[in-house]
Point group: C3
């Protein structure tokens, strides 16, 4: 049962390095193109996000990572192949591939991919602190493809200082 009594916040740590006098604001954009071999596939793209951060010279701020195709996801979770299979099995249970979607009247066959994209979400905002991706110990950035085998884009946009 959830409870609102007695906030369980143990402690707060402030890591505030301030904004230097002569800072330049950074807005930097890259596009990844991915082409998975399988229709359904999960890909760890953390290294690409870090490279975009380095290319931008970003020390503090955010990198938006956003799937530009409406049948793909971006999410943050564990890099563990058993969990990846669990995620794919679970998505198929909650948003199954089947013929009976109204979207298929348009000639498409991928309505399930549209729904799977929304279950996992299509974008994450990756915080950057001290010139590093500020992720938790097991957090990795993943691309979830649900209608692959063709080139699709992911946007990486860095904003900050």
């Amino acid at each position: 049962m959830p409870s609102s009594k007695a906030s369980p916040v143990l402690r707060v740590k402030v890591a505030d390095h301030g904004v230097p006098e002569n800072f330049a604001m950074i807005a930097h954009t890259e596009y990844l193109t991915l082409n998975t071999k399988k229709r359904y596939e999960i890909v760890d793209i953390t290294e690409h996000v870090e490279r975009a951060r380095a290319n931008a010279g970003l020390r503090d701020g955010f990198v938006l990572v956003s799937a530009m195709h409406i049948t793909a996801s971006v999410f943050v979770n564990d890099h563990e192949s058993g969990l990846w299979r669990d995620i794919m099995t679970w998505l198929e249970q909650l948003a199954p591939a089947k013929p009976e979607y109204e979207h298929h009247a348009t000639g498409e066959d991928n309505a399930d991919a549209h729904l799977k994209r929304m279950l996992l979400g299509h974008q994450v905002l990756v915080p950057v602190t001290d010139a590093k991706l500020d992720l938790g110990p097991w957090e990795r950035i993943h691309y979830g493809e649900f209608d692959g085998r063709r080139p699709k884009r992911v946007m990486l946009k860095a904003l900050g200082i």
Copy 2:
């Protein structure tokens, strides 16, 4: 089955136009008020987001689009009426309207709307590049209403340069 072997990233394109010398940082806020005729309805609000971007004069950065009421969603997907009906049918399967929610002890009857909001998500961050919404070919910004027929607000906040 997911796979982590051999990253399928084909190529990276860097679209970095730099920050001009005399830039002014932009923080601009608008509020849309929507009043749908039906209790459950999907509305394409992309044109309103683009108008807010233009009002802000934003050339690079983000526009946050966030539903301020806890029974509504904002999501990015295809503008296709068959898919919209699929989404509504699917939401009803996963988070059905029914009397037996504990939330209804407060006198409310819309617990399903709270859950549907969380399934689709309540906000998106729309990237802006070269003074345009930087969306994929089929990405459109939608408002999902699950307890309509009264005025409800969506925040549009532009941040960047």
Copy 3:
């Protein structure tokens, strides 16, 4: 049924106070550590987000609130204990705790928590306007714990002016 005819947008309000001449850009980071007494628990952390905003001196922009552990969520919804129980019951239906996950071959027993985190989402971007969290009337920021009883962190990063 969803409909795209006749946009139901009633009105638009622009609340644009501009950026002052001598503004300083703000990038400020805090980390909350939470340790819930129960394995599954919902905690309202709105006051902590507001305190981070005040510590940052942020007048306009965003505060990112992001769960740094992959078995926890951050979401915005109503502060109502009946609804919180409904959310937990619903999550258990859609992503049940059970032995048969492949992730458990690693020795873990919390695959359901990974899935629950993704259903509710792991981060929100809280808008700040006029030196206040710019939330709707019932919007409160919640931490959702699905594998608690140990210290876990939430990042609060303020960006703006």
